[in-house]
């Protein structure tokens, strides 16, 4: 069968660019690339291989993420693709991009800090904060509260 689809194969960089436009399903202001879960894009013959690492073992978004990657690349004409899961090295919030960290804060989620707690309130920038709970609305977040503006906010946990 003769293919009538574009004869030039996209480059690896193009695929990275397209993946950087796929939003995280739970936190749509950051992309999957910003989140640091796309570990590799490579070509195996005609096939593109996208290597993805889960954030948390039981994160229900994982299935949706795989579906979103496939959908986004198919829309760009990449039909021949394979997703691989990589567990090690385990995902760390250190892999989150600066662009992603800024976008999180603007959205009202305090980005992860090595110190283990938010640097400042994402609403008013106060450092007078308290932790409400180690666990939040998704596995990757904790609940904090600002004691100055009194707003509760999500903190993206450092792991």
């Amino acid at each position: 069968m003769v293919s009538t689809i574009a004869t030039t194969s996209p480059t690896i960089d193009q695929v990275w660019g397209w993946l950087d436009a796929v939003p995280d399903p739970e936190i749509p202001v950051i992309s999957l690339v910003d989140l640091g879960i796309i570990r590799d894009v490579s070509q195996d013959g005609d096939e593109f291989v996208i290597t993805v690492t889960p954030t948390y073992s039981g994160c229900p978004a994982t299935t949706i993420i795989n579906l979103d990657i496939t959908d986004a690349l198919r829309q760009k004409g990449v039909e021949n693709l394979r997703l691989e899961r990589r567990l090690s090295p385990a995902w760390t919030t250190e892999w989150m991009s600066e662009k992603g960290r800024d976008a999180l804060e603007k959205y009202g989620i305090a980005p992860p800090q090595a110190a283990g707690g938010p640097a400042r309130c994402p609403q008013c920038a106060s450092t007078n904060l308290e932790r409400t709970s180690q666990f939040g609305s998704t596995p990757c977040k904790a609940l904090w509260r600002c004691k100055d503006c009194l707003e509760p906010f999500d903190y993206f946990k450092c792991i």
């Binding site: 889960p54 948390y56 229900p60 567990l87 709970s133 180690q134 666990f135 596995p139 792991i159």
Partner: protein, 257 residues
């Protein structure tokens, strides 16, 4: 199963069932709190913990299915076995009791799981080491929270203190099983795949001793240990857990959504 006939793959399969069944059954127990916890933050924390544990279950039982080589998926292993084929510790099938007892059980298990995973990260089996690396990051949060809660309630009001002491006294006879090795463990120790369960005891005693001292709780000095879960002899409670957990797949085999 006779000891002489135990190949490394057979031992590995049993060991993976033990790991996966521990997290599966505990996850189910913890999820029973969903919508019932005393405050919403605790409700969310319990649901998050259950979610981490079910994710780890998918890894362990998925790998068990691969090792077994009969084409069974993690779901099939979880939903289509009966009680005698489960290999979880008796501790994790104990009923929840009150909130304090649930967190006491969680802490006793988290303390053990964090030590076990630290050893498994150095397993000669790379697949096991990778899962352990992933899971240990999550379990670090679990043990921090369960320890904090045990301290908060143990060193709390006279009522909460009394309940936590009762919880510890009730659950302690189920602790010993975590550290008693058998032929499955021995086969894996030999190849550097898994640690001797007894080798975790001192670190566990240190960790639990520190937390209980801070919680002003007294660790029972009776060495008696209920055993059986690791080889498939369970308490009556497991059957009720499975009746709830497996109902849908039993009533509508192969159902998907």
């Amino acid at each position: 199963m006779t000891n002489a006939a135990l190949t490394t793959d057979e031992a590995l399969f049993q060991f993976l069932l033990r790991l996966g069944d521990n997290t599966l059954i505990l996850s189910h127990r913890v999820s029973e709190w969903c919508g019932h916890a005393p405050v919403i933050e605790e409700d969310i924390a319990l649901a998050n913990t259950a979610l981490d544990l079910i994710g780890q279950t998918q890894f362990w039982l998925g790998l068990a299915g691969e090792v077994e080589g009969k084409g069974r998926s993690a779901d099939q292993i979880a939903y289509l076995r009966d009680a005698w084929d489960f290999r979880n510790l008796l501790l994790v099938e104990r009923p929840n009791g009150d909130f304090g007892k649930t967190l006491m059980r969680q802490f006793l298990f988290d303390a053990w799981q964090s030590l076990m995973l630290a050893k498994l990260m150095k397993s000669t089996n790379i697949r096991i080491a990778e899962i352990a690396e992933k899971a240990s990051k999550e379990v670090a949060y679990h043990v921090e929270r369960s320890a904090d809660t045990v301290v908060g309630l143990g060193d709390g009001t006279p009522e909460s203190h009394a309940r936590m002491q009762t919880a510890l006294d009730d659950l302690y006879p189920y602790v010993g099983e975590m550290f008693i090795g058998d032929a499955v463990d021995a086969a894996l120790v030999k190849d550097g795949i898994a640690p001797d369960p007894a080798s975790l005891r001192n670190d566990w005693d240190d960790l639990v001793g520190r937390v209980m001292a801070e919680a002003t709780l007294t660790i029972p000095q009776k060495p008696f240990a209920h055993v059986g879960g690791k080889s498939g002899t369970h308490t009556e409670h497991l059957g009720y857990v499975l009746a709830d957990m497996q109902f849908l797949q039993r009533a509508y085999p192969g159902a998907e959504w």
